[in-house]
């Protein structure tokens, strides 16, 4: 198990230190009746041999991390000195691939997570209040968006928001703008992806909260009722404190899942407007014929570091809990 986690990370790290070979060039003189010209051509045999001998490529140290498609310190510095206002600066920076992807990934995570928490909780309370006979079917329906393959689920939505699809056509009608396309503008693409994200992850928080609601002690609720608490007050002061551990668990899971958002971007073909960190790696590896292992490796390592930062507080707390339980 450790083998399967640790090895790929090490492998990605090693790959990130190398850069693919340049093609071997031959310069030959081509002499014709009107004088000689120098012709540069690619020596395919030598290139292939070089690639076979050292598949990793040339050693490049941490330069890959610093180049334009990753941390890009030089470009950020330039942007800082060249741009007049902060807005200019950020525009400049978010045009760099890594920062652009980071911006989308973080926005997506930051918007989807709280919304899913709140909506999931409200729906859980709503379903809890339904008559028993309706609970089963509503849970069944609710589970679908979560369990269906992300790629497939987002495709279904994508076809609906297509210019000729039902939602897309309706939106056109409402705004009376036949050229309106959800895919054309950055803001609308982001909104679309975020809406999809909420649709897809809402069931998870709903189910967990719903299960949690079943464990709320009845006596406490009754006591609060006798003390004259309204339904609203009972929810705020009795139910929510009881669910705090669940809330932190769901938040953790949502953060992890949202941070690696990937499939919707592929199936919405939204890469022109929104790229996530995962998508960048995918794109590097998909580079036809000549995958950029070095670049993908570097982004992978940076992503892992990002996740470590995100999860560190939670991990420390779990460790402390574990030690408390152990003694």
């Amino acid at each position: 198990m450790i083998l399967f986690i640790a090895l790929p990370i090490i492998s990605a790290f090693v790959q990130s230190l190398f850069i693919q070979h340049e093609q071997v060039l031959i310069v030959s003189q081509n002499c014709g009746p009107f004088g000689c010209s120098e012709v540069t051509s690619i020596d395919f045999e030598k290139t292939i041999k070089l690639r076979q001998d050292a598949p990793l490529g040339k050693y490049n140290g941490i330069n890959t991390y610093l180049n334009r498609s990753h941390l890009a310190f030089a470009e950020v510095g330039n942007a800082w000195s060249a741009s007049e206002t902060l807005v200019d600066f950020f525009n400049e920076v978010f045009n760099l691939p890594l920062y652009g992807a980071l911006a989308f990934t973080l926005t997506y995570t930051a918007v989807v997570t709280p919304l899913v928490l709140i909506l999931g909780f409200s729906i859980a309370i709503g379903v809890n209040g339904l008559p028993n006979i309706m609970k089963g079917p509503s849970i069944f329906v609710s589970l679908l968006p979560f369990l269906v393959t992300p790629l497939v689920g987002s495709l279904i939505l994508f076809w609906m928001v297509d210019g000729d699809g039902i939602i897309g056509a309706t939106i056109k009608l409402i705004f009376n703008d036949p050229d309106l396309s959800l895919k054309a503008s950055t803001a609308l693409t982001w909104t679309m992806l975020i809406v999809y994200g909420i649709w897809h992850t809402l069931p998870f928080s709903f189910i967990v909260f719903y299960a949690g609601l079943q464990t709320v002690p009845f006596e406490t609720l009754e006591a609060a009722l006798i003390d004259g608490a309204t339904k609203w007050q009972r929810t705020i002061y009795v139910v929510i404190p009881h669910l705090v551990p669940l809330i932190s668990f769901v938040t953790l899971m949502l953060l992890m899942d949202n941070f690696r958002v990937f499939e919707p971007i592929v199936s919405f073909s939204a890469e022109a407007h929104a790229r996530s960190l995962s998508w960048i790696i995918y794109n590097d590896l998909r580079e036809s014929g000549n995958p950029l292992y070095g670049s993908a490796g570097a982004t992978s390592i940076l992503t892992i570091i990002g996740i470590a930062f995100l999860l560190l507080p939670v991990l420390i707390r779990t460790w402390k809990d574990f030690k408390l339980k152990g003694h």
């Binding site: 990793l56 495709l155 039902i166 309204t230 769901v250 499939e263 995962s278 590896l285 779990t318």
Partner: protein, 293 residues
């Protein structure tokens, strides 16, 4: 005062009821719509004139003579060879579930009975795998696999999927076996069974609920996976999800997007059936982590 409190309660109730209804509509409608639409022709499902065409199938009747057509399914399954991808998925899913459950039950039982507190470390491993974008792991696997010439084959993918899935399965079954009373196998051993017999005759009959839940989640992981399969499988060995992805490119150009719609609906159907039959297990699996902490 009394009446006021009553109306406000019923107002809140009504509001939350509306919210639930709205959510159920949002959750179910896309599936119903795509299912209905998959039996139409493209000019209905992506109607330029009027979205109601998709409901009544105006153009479908014009083109095929009936309001329903299975040409999308015929195109996807027969012409585009989707059945081959489906077989591949079947193989991958079957072996992933089988291997992870075998390791999971044996390992989970051993860990649960050994007394040492492994739980934390397994949980951590499961958490790390859950947290890491699978693509970062795949980017690490890819180059070695090319070098060893094992890229593109189904067994390689199965091994990777099992590896990604194992910590979670192990943790789930480990906590399940912790709940199986120790007295059960101890009394069997006093009656003269050895450790293995105790496992075979006493623990195995009671372990199915846990195994089914763990199996369901392995199934979903393997079935739904896109990242690993799209990277590690060659075109001949593609499973359904990457196949749909490559469909998109070709069918859009050919104007046969209904093939892709039909394929998508076919992929969703097994999951629907699964949820229908195993809803209880899925819910208990989803909440197991949360409630036990």
């Amino acid at each position: 005062m009394q009446t006021q409190a009553k109306t406000s309660i019923s107002f809140v109730k009504g509001l939350s009821f509306c919210l639930v209804c709205l959510w159920l509509l949002i959750a179910a409608f896309p599936f119903a719509w795509s299912f209905w639409g998959s039996f139409k022709v493209q000019s209905d499902f992506f109607s330029k004139a009027d979205w109601m065409y998709a409901l009544w199938g105006t153009n479908t009747i014009k083109e095929t003579g009936s309001a329903f057509t299975s040409s999308g399914y015929y195109g996807a399954w027969i012409i585009k060879g989707f059945w081959k991808n489906f077989t591949n998925t079947g193989i991958v899913v079957f072996f992933t579930v089988l291997i992870s459950l075998t390791i999971g039950t044996l390992g989970g039982y051993a860990l649960a009975r050994s007394g040492f507190r492994y739980a934390f470390w397994i949980l951590m491993a499961a958490l790390i795998f859950r947290a890491m974008p699978h693509i970062t792991l795949v980017s690490g696997y890819l180059l070695p696999f090319f070098e060893w010439n094992i890229w593109g084959y189904l067994p390689t993918t199965i091994i990777v999927l099992v590896a990604m899935n194992q910590p979670f399965t192990l943790w789930m079954l480990h906590s399940f076996f912790l709940n199986v009373p120790k007295d059960l196998d101890e009394s069997a051993m006093i009656d003269g069974c050895n450790r293995f017999q105790a496992f075979r005759y006493v623990v195995v009959p009671v372990m199915w609920p846990g195994v089914i839940t763990a199996g369901l989640f392995s199934f979903l992981l393997a079935y739904n996976d896109f990242t690993v399969t799209v990277m590690l499988l060659s075109e001949d060995n593609e499973t359904i999800i990457p196949a749909i992805n490559s469909f998109l490119g070709t069918t859009q150009v050919e104007g046969k997007i209904m093939y892709a719609v039909a394929a998508v609906v076919s992929v969703t159907a097994p999951i629907l059936v699964l949820v229908l039959f195993f809803q209880r297990q899925i819910v208990s699996g989803l909440t197991a982590g949360a409630v036990k902490g």
